[in-house]
């Protein structure tokens, strides 16, 4: 049993892709993607993408890291194993700064890398668009829009017709095992 996995259409230039993306967005599609060999200025707006929440993930993780670093050192040296070192106070915040700062950065970096994985749904080993032979040119000179069935507005025939109408060439319906 085969079912539709995605519909792709190719465009000639980055500019065409950008304007096609605007039309797809205006038509009400939300689960579609644009593929190009390089970043295109203004694409985020054209696709109607919101700002990535990654910054907040990084910020939250960084603050957590600083709290863990400061808290652990403070707790050990004042509560768990109080020890007077070179005549300094038990709560000597100056000495904690390095590790607090290091964990601030480390947790923030973890948040950035793994948060990016989660937001991009990585790892993912395969994607239906790779069934298309022509799609390989996306790493060289190809510009594609793909729309997937998960989109509420998706309809195999209408969507293909729509992509042709907005100037897409070689509209291809990709099917795979259900």
């Amino acid at each position: 049993m085969k079912e539709v996995k995605a519909i792709i259409a190719s465009f000639e230039t980055p500019g065409e892709l950008l304007h096609a993306a605007e039309k797809v967005r205006d038509e009400g599609y939300t689960r579609f993607d644009c593929h190009s060999p390089f970043p295109i200025h203004g694409m985020d707006d054209a696709m109607g993408l919101k700002r990535s929440p990654l910054g907040f993930i990084v910020g939250g993780m960084a603050v957590l890291g600083a709290a863990v670093g400061l808290g652990l050192q403070g707790w050990v040296t004042t509560v768990e194993y109080p020890l007077i070192l070179s005549g300094k106070a038990l709560w000597s915040w100056q000495a904690y700064i390095i590790i607090t700062f290091a964990l601030f950065v480390l947790f923030g970096a973890f948040g950035a890398v793994f948060g990016m994985f989660v937001l991009n749904r990585i790892p993912r080993w395969h994607h239906p668009v790779f069934y298309s032979d022509r799609f390989a040119s996306v790493t060289d000179d190809g510009f594609f829009i793909s729309i997937e069935p998960g989109d509420p507005k998706f309809d195999a025939e209408n969507t293909a017709a729509f992509l042709t109408a907005i100037g897409g060439k070689d509209v291809e319906t990709i099917e795979g095992d259900a």
Binding site: R51, G55, S86, G87, K88, Q94, A95, I97, I98
Partner: protein, 396 residues
């Protein structure tokens, strides 16, 4: 040069305000010389060093842009170039400073040096004639480099030759070495030698990072002023965004250096090193040291983290003013304690001279901005730096 290149002029009322405040600052200084010389000289040193920081920081900024082949800033490069024109003014200030040496520097009194074995050991470097020679050398080099870089840039406007850019890349590379060494020595001479027994190897990095931070803040304020006077299309939000990223990172660099000095001295706890912080960590000075970190790091850090504030003229203006006041406080805490004793004082001498210095700075720089073409029309990077719809300015 194209005739329809954007120009800038400040309304006459603003000129009047700037003029009045600089005269006021000058008056405070002159009156202070007679009424409270022991208090006016430290204030003069703070403001002299501040003014030199603003000008020299802009030369560093330009030099880094050149050696890194940065294209993004070409559209507003005339702003840092104009800021460097305060260096000669700071040079005049350095001449005046010579008359205050005996009030400021312990090592300039021969009898004190004779009685003090440590100062005797340092007298080969810390003596009056050599100090004056060094000051002259520093300022001569700084003004020289600022001048030749500006000259090449302005010449390119006229003949459009690429070689000016290449020459400035070479000038910048030399300046980055010469400028760093001379500035490190100058902050040791002018500020650190106020407590001639004490030394710290990180000290000059604190003044260096403070210099770049305050200079970036001043450049941002000037960019906001230019934007408000109708240059929004040349000096774009993207430019402001990148500048505030730099301001944010150098503010973090400043606190990094500040903590490096503070923590290591606190940790090793050697009397000859802690003498610096004993003064500055208790009573009124302690609160001011805390406020220093808040103004120079915490406020810019928290305020500039969100993307929205990096793209807002108003917020950037406020943060930059906070950073400038913070830098003044940083220098105040460096200079005042050994000279003024146990409690900080804030009065007409401090505020008057600071406002006068700022008015002088903005007066000189804005005048320069009025007299030079605002956009380097023949710069090879200008196209890269302008938004697409303004490319015509570059292609004229």
């Amino acid at each position: 040069m194209s005739n329809n290149a954007p120009a800038f002029s400040l309304p006459g009322s603003m000129w009047k305000t700037i003029f009045v405040f600089s005269i006021l600052g000058l008056l405070v200084f002159i009156v202070g010389l007679f009424l409270a010389p022991e208090r006016i000289w430290p204030n003069f040193l703070i403001n002299e060093f501040f003014l030199l920081n603003l000008g020299l920081g802009a030369v560093f900024f330009l030099a880094v842009l050149y050696v890194s082949n940065a294209g993004w800033a070409a559209a507003f490069r005339r702003v840092p170039e104009a800021v460097t024109s305060v260096l000669p003014v700071a040079g005049v200030g350095a001449v005046i400073l010579i008359f205050g040496i005996h009030t400021l520097y312990e090592w300039s009194h021969e009898t004190t040096v004779m009685m003090d074995p440590i100062l005797r050991g340092k007298s080969a470097w810390l003596n009056e004639p050599f100090f004056i020679v060094r000051l002259a050398l520093y300022f001569a080099l700084w003004i020289f480099f600022a001048r030749i870089m500006m000259k090449q840039s302005l010449r390119q406007d006229e003949d459009g030759k690429l070689e000016h850019t290449f020459k400035n890349v070479r000038n910048s590379a030399i300046f980055l070495i010469v400028g760093t060494i001379t500035f490190v020595l100058a902050s040791i001479d002018m500020i650190m030698s106020l407590q001639p027994h004490w030394y710290s190897t990180v000290f000059s990095l604190i003044t260096l990072s403070g210099m770049i931070t305050s200079s970036l803040a001043a450049i941002i304020i000037l960019m906001v002023i230019l934007r408000a006077s109708g240059l929004k299309k040349i000096i774009t939000r993207e430019h402001l965004h990148t500048m505030s990223n730099l301001l944010l990172s150098f503010s973090v660099f400043w606190v990094y250096m500040w903590v490096s000095q503070h923590m290591l001295i606190w940790y090793s706890n050697i009397p000859e090193e802690t003498s610096y912080y004993i003064f500055r960590h208790f009573g009124g000075w302690g609160s001011l040291s805390f406020l220093n970190v808040v103004l120079n790091w915490l406020v810019p850090f928290l305020a500039l983290l969100p993307r929205v504030s990096k793209r807002s003229d108003k917020i950037l203006l406020q943060v930059s003013i906070v950073v400038l006041v913070g830098h003044w406080l940083d220098l105040y805490i460096m200079v005042m304690p050994p000279l003024m004793g146990n409690e900080p004082t804030l009065g007409v001498w401090e505020i008057g001279t600071f406002i006068g210095m700022l008015a002088l700075f903005f007066g000189v720089v804005l005048r320069k901005l009025q007299s030079i073409p605002l956009v380097p029309v023949n710069d090879p990077y200008l196209v890269e730096s302008l938004p697409e719809e303004e490319h015509a300015v570059a292609l004229k």
